[in-house]
Subunit: 451 residues, 2 copies
């Protein structure tokens, strides 16, 4: 490919860019309801149409620019040329299933394993985080001969029937015979107040122990604990010191496997390669996804030779469009970008700058009760008042909407849906963060003034 060719010059000719035929956004939304189903998830009460992206910037049809402070999938940048070139070249050369040998798939798996804790030796590729979590649970069950999976009570790991049974267990969804939940380790709204950090850790660990014990009592038995390494869906709680290491020890002492869901936490987001390095534990099984292919569907489940070989021996597992040269091309390009552009370092440095800035704004504001996060993943906890710490999801949504109207994309998240989730692509620049902080501060001043 001629790298100097003006790629965007041919947009108008491309079949991928359809003409609107004069349709406005309202008409497009109506067509969307009809073609994808009414209720297909959409951000913002006043949604936006995006047509182009570059680095951390996104553009709508009118050319209006938004700075992306939400998306973790295009971690190495919207429109990343290395990824686009790699998949183009590979798709044009060969993209076929994995029952023929293809070296780049092997090299990619080797590179991923080498980036992990030594316990992770082999990778089973899939297409989505859901699929990779399915594989992880199947691996844990085969390795232990037991079925019980422990998860947090504000988790989300995917949308299949099995993995979906781990969503918000006890908060909207009942436990099932082989899925038990423990209250996520919430330091800002702890289950018992007035405890020291160590006592609080003991309290949450006891709840994990309870969930495990109930599997032993019911005869289901305990296969493992599956948690996001940084409890992203729960709201990035500040964990008591040593909590995750003690939790992993507890799981292993009970004969289970520790499964780290790195779908949100992995690939440099926290300033470390993996979330479990940020929260200080070692997993037996890791689940990777989202930023892995910068938008190309790839996911993976990693574990020891013993666990993976045992899984392959028992399950005739095959995934047609996983472990393909296309996935390897995209995945390798992402790893190269992360390394060559030193994006982990950037996540640490700019992440600290972002978190400090948000914390400074929160300190001077009545409605931001807490600021938490790791690397370039920060949340601001929106409350009705700082003393009672009552979550205010409606205000969080209003803040996110206002930020969008001012050109900065965020969303809401967390167990109480009251967090402003601030998570730019890792290629975000210092001036973008300056711009975001200035705008966020202005919005929060408006909020305070309106109260």
């Amino acid at each position: 490919m001629d790298k100097k060719a003006p790629v965007r010059a041919t947009f108008a000719d491309s079949r991928v860019f359809m003409k609107h035929a004069g349709m406005n956004l309202t008409q497009l939304l109506d067509r969307r309801d009809k073609s994808l189903g009414a209720g297909a998830e959409l951000f913002y009460s006043d949604p936006i149409e995006l047509v182009r992206g570059e680095g951390a910037h996104l553009f709508d049809r009118t050319g209006r620019r938004y700075v992306d402070f939400y998306n973790n999938v295009p971690a190495v940048g919207h429109g990343n040329a290395r990824v686009a070139d790699a998949i183009s070249l590979q798709q044009r050369t060969l993209n076929v299933h994995s029952r023929y040998v293809h070296e780049s798939v092997i090299v990619y798996a080797e590179r991923l394993a080498a980036l992990h804790d030594p316990a992770i030796e082999s990778i089973v590729f899939s297409c989505s985080g859901t699929e990779a979590n399915e594989v992880a649970i199947q691996m844990a069950r085969i390795a232990t001969g037991k079925r019980g999976i422990v998860c947090s009570d504000a988790a989300y790991h995917g949308n299949s029937e099995l993995v979906g049974r781990l969503t918000n267990v006890g908060r909207g969804q009942p436990e099932s015979a082989d899925v038990h939940a423990f209250p996520f380790p919430d330091s800002y709204r702890p289950i018992v107040s007035g405890l020291s950090e160590e006592e609080l850790a003991d309290e949450y660990l006891a709840r994990i122990g309870d969930a495990i014990a109930r599997f032993e009592a019911s005869g289901v038995g305990f296969a493992g604990m599956l948690v996001c390494s940084i409890f992203a869906n729960e709201g990035l709680p500040d964990l008591p010191a040593g909590f995750m290491k003690r939790a992993a020890d507890l799981v292993r002492q009970a004969g289970g496997l520790m499964i780290a869901d790195e779908v949100q936490a992995g690939f440099g987001r926290t300033g470390h390669w993996w979330g479990y390095q940020a929260t200080g534990f070692t997993p037996d099984i890791v689940v990777m996804g989202k930023p892995m292919g910068n938008g190309v569907p790839i996911s993976g489940t990693g574990a020891s030779h013993a666990i993976v070989d045992g899984f392959r021996a028992r399950v005739d597992h095959f995934n047609t469009t996983a472990s393909t040269p296309l996935q390897a091309a995209a995945g390798i390009a992402v790893l190269d970008e992360l390394e060559e552009k030193r994006l982990l370092e950037s996540a640490r440095e700019l992440g600290q700058m972002l978190k400090d800035g948000v914390a400074r704004i929160a300190a001077g504001n009545t409605r931001l009760g807490d600021v938490r996060g790791h690397g370039l993943f920060v949340v601001a906890d929106v409350v009705t008042d700082k003393e009672n710490r009552t979550p205010d999801p409606a205000l969080a949504a209003a803040i996110s909407e206002r930020l969008k109207n001012l050109g900065f994309l965020t969303a809401t998240a967390g167990a109480y849906k009251n967090l402003v989730k601030i998570r730019p692509p890792l290629v975000v620049q210092r001036e973008d963060i300056d711009g975001f902080l200035a705008t966020f501060e202005a919005v929060m001043v408006e909020v305070d003034a309106a109260c």
Copy 2:
């Protein structure tokens, strides 16, 4: 992109093409076992490494050419330039999740729905066939308020826990409370011998009725029947006249939904757009995958507005790398190729030529008991002797291995693993088929001589 640029000229520079560092295939297979897990599926007792593809042709590292008579995913051709250009352009422009509006995703869903029976109005996109079948089962359960799924006893619909419970039920896997199987409608080895075609249809329909009735008796209730529209995994049986229409009627009379798995049958493979058109019925829910993105992971589940909207209202369904501009770009490029290159017509004409040729070879051979198929999907049923019709899976594997050694890629399949599966990309040329038939005939002469 400069379409005239010599794309392959830059291969040596590309990061996607790693050097072997002098490693031979044995060493590569050892690395594969270690990095992907020992037992990761591999074709042929003497496996092959592929590095390049063009149309229906594949090439190994030494430049040796294989003619592809197996792969249905790259239906519009290995190395298809339109697909490669579309995904490159889209990935370089914008590839982001579906909670922002993107027109091409809507246009793609509209085009797919328009290609289907009018009952199919909206599409929910996923990344794999497994995921799309998960969605289909969830849709059927929500629409009916019941849980029981009927499948064939030699089916494969995917690898998640739920969908995996439909694999070979009664042939290696027991039924579960909410998954019941009926014997697939096998006309070559019927469950009752000596019946007329109509009596045989009655017999198989009665077995479907039994499976449904057992759900009613157990209180689980009947949600729907999920079958491949052409029973591909079962072995492409010749169905009794009117069988599928009567089966669909039976399902609906019992209050269930008819789910057509088109993952193998769809997108022109049979010479029709959809397998259900080849076998004569109309589905309530369709499941699409494999050739949909020519190797880019895409799948979809289509149904009426009522079914899809009902699903979306009940399940907060979201799939991060599905419904993306990248999927739409690849999917639209595939539809354009199928239409502009008249590949359905080709599947009908060349498919007939292929099937006739294989049937002619079988007629003169003692070990090919039956030839079945639709369009460019043909199977030869390998037997120990034509009278007893005893399946010979070892000979089928040996034939496929021999064909591979002679430069033609096939594989084995079917309920008894004794079928030579002959399924070239839809871009296969007449001379490829001539070449295949000559080689297949020579191999079968060898087989007969050796007996």
